[in-house]
């Protein structure tokens, strides 16, 4: 299982992600992003959404995929819990994600993510079974 660390910055916030596979990297990055907006409260899985994005490399796929998750959060009040299906064919990523609608009593919100940025962005496979990503969010 991957893990993320928050990166402090005066104006905004970032996350550093370590994971054992590309799927795990995406899952953990999504957890990190959701932690920034809703640091407390468990998220159940009562809804499933499909997300498909295109991108020329893993970094673009990750930014575009997290941006779609952020869109679902903003418009559908959907909080991510789990990445299920994950398939990359050519430059196209197809996923299904589980989570639930925000319950204001259980999910106190801390911040609003304006966008997922490419600032200092890095996604790389360090060794087989070890992936790393760095990314920043505009809050």
């Amino acid at each position: 299982m991957g893990h993320f660390t928050l990166i402090e910055h005066t104006a905004d916030a970032g996350i550093q992600v370590e994971a054992c596979s590309l799927k795990d990297l995406f899952h953990t990055a999504a957890q990190g992003m959701i932690h920034l907006v809703c640091p407390h409260g468990r998220t159940a899985q009562t809804e499933i959404h499909s997300i498909t994005v295109c991108g020329e490399d893993p970094a673009e796929l990750l930014v575009n995929w997290l941006s779609e998750l952020n869109y679902l959060f903003q418009v559908e009040q959907f909080l991510f819990a789990e990445l299920h299906h994950f398939e990359i064919i050519s430059n196209r990523l197809s996923t299904t994600v589980g989570g639930e609608r925000i319950d204001p009593l259980r999910h106190p919100l801390r911040a609003e993510i304006k966008g997922v940025t490419y600032h200092k962005m890095n996604v790389e496979q360090i060794t087989p079974g070890k992936w790393h990503a760095l990314l920043y969010f505009d809050l």
């Binding site: 910055h9 005066t10 104006a11 575009n64 418009v75 911040a111 304006k114 966008g115 490419y118």
Partner: protein
Amino acid sequence: MQEKMQQIHDYLFEIPRTGKMRVPARIYASAGMLKDILNDNAAEQAAHVAWLPGITGYSYAMPDIHWGYGFPIGGVAAFDMEEGIVSPGGVGYDINCGVRLLRTDLDYDTVKPRLPLLVEALFRAVPSGVGSTGAIKLSLNEEKRVLQQGATWAIENGFGRGEDLDKIEENGVMSSADPEMVSQHALERGRAQLGTLGSGNHFVEVGVVREVFDAGAAAVLGLRKNQVTVTIHTGSRGLGHQVCDDAIKVMLRASQKYGIELPDRQLCCAPIQSPEGRQYLAAMASAVNFAFANRQMITHWVHEAILRTLGISARDLNMQVVYEVAHNIAKIETHTFAGIKRQLCVHRKGATRAFGPHHPEIPAAYREIGQPVLIPGDMGRYSYVLTGTERAMQETFGSTCHGAGRLMSRTQAIKKGRGRSLTQELAARGIIVRASSRATLAEEAPEAYKDVSQVVDAVVGAGLAKKIVKLHPIGVVKG
């Protein structure tokens, strides 16, 4: 970076043109402020902006410069209309984030006894907080009309008066908007958010004019000592954020297509005259109009809340828009550069337009004094009203600073606020604060921000603006 820096005068430093920079970068700041700026890597970002095709003059940074995405916050860059580019990173995610200042006929002593009630009423009247949604949910067709008509839409629908438009940058509507260039995602994100403050550093603030530096100019603006004002700081909400997000995807491809070398992917861009460049400018202008309408609607609710709480007539309140500025925007403007009048695409990201006296785009009533420039500080200290200068026209394409800038990260501010009641501390200083969460309040603590007076002193020292009045907060609603 520090070793490269050359001091031009007390408030101006230059990073000479090296490597792939097409022009030098210039940073307006005092020597004392420069250390923080260099620690933040923001100067390097200003140098990176100088790589972009068609940049004219210099890549500028204002004294409130800090690390941004692609362009630094506090950055100003103008691009040639034929050879130049437009970049969503040069505007930022919160398109047309801006400030509106309202004046009233009320004195501090009249408001003081009912201040807690007034702040509560403002908090209830203006939806705020993370993901805040408004009192209205627009149909997609109506939302497109907002994107086309800006503040005019709000006025036609009963939010404010026609005369408000004269006192808004662009008169509250950019005619270059094309809602068809705005994605379905952006429309969906904006649909329920019109007339909302949002979160973070956005606010509605009741203030008092405490110091008048230029009584003549203050009188022209309808401002005088001890007078109660209201400041509104917000932008285009999720709609603008999504327009930026969408544009970055397109611009990454466009940068490759047009062979534009980028030192940072977040600086992705397209030639102004390309289909991608035109599409972004039309979508951006639509988001600009959404923000104009947003602040116009909030003004209406502020007006109603004051009347209701103080039990006075609209005539006794006599609330009027002093001015409204945008501080995240790209605009096609005419400037004289190297003695020749030319059209340029001026990007201001965390920077304010500051046109000097006699400019035709300033409201007729203010033409003698220059464009009002509104510089909010933090919720515990003060804000300023400045005016633009001829020197700003000559040096910075009529631009100046936009605010204080953060000193601490959000987490640092929260840690520092543990065990304290910021609400009580501020109340003891005569400032009533209401926020949608304790965490937001702690994040926005006054000490989390730089002292805005240093920023203002630097732009005034550099001749990019003149001080007119200083406002002190007495009531704050935070998102």
